[in-house]
């Protein structure tokens, strides 16, 4: 049924996500790579890894650009070729894809892909402004639009067209906080009641505080190799069997439809086809819940349910830890947190843990096929990857 492996994941690592006072992003990255190296003792990083591909969104946060070589250096991987990818919140989803390109090109045997963002030391208005840079400047930012408000525009459209409710959106927050409470790496490890989520303060109507993902510090990474080399290093690799990516207009307003992300739909189609699997085959998924409405739209774009039925899907419990397709077992961007550049590979890290039975209290029993859906900005970039237990 499944397609052949494109590449294999040997290991994965994640820093503790949260409000990390007194450290720089590069220092968080050291936490992530240390964990990845410890998980794969047969790997000799200095000898084996020859390229480092890093997702990092914003120079503004730490007043630091040129982060590719900086992070390669801090990871002890000089003089590896270092490449930085920037695609807003999908910066490291793209880094992962470039890692696949690097291996498939034949130039490299083993690469490290990852991402990092340090955000919480800046004020909320500053972070709001920096994140908004991933939207259209002259027609969106200039007219006062922010990221929450762009997703609010999608939420209003979805509510109007399909009858999706604020309560259904809040249910996404409740589910993801439940999962995040079980994840020792999550930023906010706390259950949230439906009532609390619904009554939280307004950010951009109809989105309230608990509809928004967190401003978080964190780093993540994966070690990738060619499938034929994987067993030399580990008995439990995870194969990537499908990879898709597509682009859309930078301005949300230029799209035909505000209730779906076309780029995500196309990326999913490409990944499913490559992997030879259907939405029904997915055992566990990480979806880009930058806002609760985004997870509801993701259910539809990924084919987990029909267009317009995403609200019903969260209501029915299909995507809880015990449901048919558990989504965001890590807690998602909502509770694990959303250090924007680190998110894509952090999602892949959670799928790696699930498919190697290392997800502890949030383990989905016998999960064999996983999916990660990473969206940049309001959907101008989307990547979808499909994983299979090795």
């Amino acid at each position: 049924m499944s397609g052949k492996p494109l590449v294999s994941i040997l290991s994965a690592g994640l820093s503790k996500f949260g409000k990390r006072k007194g450290v720089y992003g590069r220092e968080l990255f050291v936490e992530a790579v240390t964990e990845a190296f410890e998980r794969c003792p047969k790997l000799d990083p200095k000898k084996d890894i020859r390229a480092v591909i890093i997702g990092h969104m914003g120079e503004s946060f730490e007043h630091q650009g040129h982060t590719g070589p900086t992070l390669a250096d801090w990871a002890g991987l000089l003089p590896s070729a270092a490449i930085r990818t920037e695609a807003a919140c999908s910066s490291s989803g793209v880094a992962l894809r470039i890692g696949i390109f690097a291996l498939l090109s034949g130039l490299y045997d083993i690469v490290l892909v990852g991402g990092v963002e340090k955000m919480t030391h800046r004020t909320t208005p500053d972070v709001t402004e920096f994140l908004a840079m991933a939207s259209d400047y002259p027609f969106e930012q200039w007219h006062g639009l922010t990221f929450p408000s762009l997703y609010a525009l999608m939420a209003t459209a979805h509510m109007h067209k399909y009858g999706t409710t604020e309560e259904q959106m809040a249910m996404v927050a409740v589910k993801n906080h439940h999962n995040g409470a079980l994840n020792p790496k999550a930023h906010i490890r706390r259950e949230v009641s439906l009532e609390k989520a619904l009554n939280s303060r307004m950010i951009a109507w109809p989105l309230k505080l608990y509809d928004c993902s967190l401003i978080t510090d964190g780093a993540s990474c994966l070690v990738l190799t060619k499938p034929e080399l994987a067993k030399k290093f580990t008995d439990t690799p995870v194969h990537i069997i499908g990879s898709g990516q597509a682009s859309d207009t930078i301005g949300l307003y230029e799209r035909q439809n505000f209730t779906t992300l076309k780029a995500a739909k196309l990326a999913a189609k490409e990944a499913y086809k490559m992997a030879g699997v259907k939405p029904d085959d997915i055992d566990v998924a990480e979806a880009h819940d930058c806002f609760t409405i985004a997870e509801i739209i993701a259910y539809e774009d990924l084919g987990f349910c029909q267009q317009g039925k995403g609200g019903k899907m969260i209501e029915n419990g299909t995507t809880t830890l015990e449901g048919k397709i558990p989504v965001n077992t890590s807690g998602g961007l909502k509770s694990k947190g959303h250090p924007v550049g680190a998110t894509g590979t952090a999602q892949a890290c959670e799928i790696f843990l699930q498919l190697t039975e290392q997800a502890e209290k949030r383990q989905v029993k016998g999960a064999d096929i996983g999916l990660a859906h990473n969206v940049g900005g309001s959907g101008a970039t989307a990547t979808v990857h499909i994983f299979r237990r090795g």
Binding site: T146, A204, L252, Y253
Partner: protein, 137 residues
């Protein structure tokens, strides 16, 4: 400003906004309308374009009311921003003014108006915005 000789740039779009005109670039080859204007038709690759005056009327497709904003807009919160489908077809985002946020609804008819006060810093563009039809100002 005689627009016939103006290049099809975002800056010129806003210069026309400063004169109270909402203008699109129209591809002479395939007829596609671009708001904002583009130097090339991305559908058919033609650079044979012309400025076209838009009526500045349309229907609200979706909207939000922003309570947390960047610093620049902090004095205005809460403010409403929507996406309007113009009569001519293209969609354009903009603030919705001269109406209480709870009176706004998807599908309502709006018309464009202009705030030609120039900000002191780059990019020094005036803003267009939308308002309901029954408001006179």
């Amino acid at each position: 400003m005689a627009e016939a000789s103006l290049p099809f740039t975002i800056e010129n779009f806003y210069k026309l906004v400063a004169e109270g005109r909402l203008m699109a670039a129209k591809c002479r080859k395939c007829g596609k309308l671009f708001v904002p204007p583009r130097p090339m038709c991305t559908d058919c690759y033609s650079k044979d374009l012309e400025w076209t005056q838009l009526k500045g009327e349309g229907e609200l497709v979706t909207y939000t009311v922003i309570h947390v904003s960047p610093k620049q807009f902090e004095s205005m919160v809460p403010y409403a921003v929507g996406i309007v489908k113009l009569t001519e077809g293209p969609k354009l985002p903009g603030m919705i003014c001269d109406i209480e946020p709870d009176k706004i609804s998807v599908g309502m008819k709006l018309k464009v108006d202009f705030n030609t006060t120039l900000p002191s810093e780059w990019p020094r563009w005036p803003r267009y915005y939308f308002k309901p039809f029954d408001v006179t100002s």
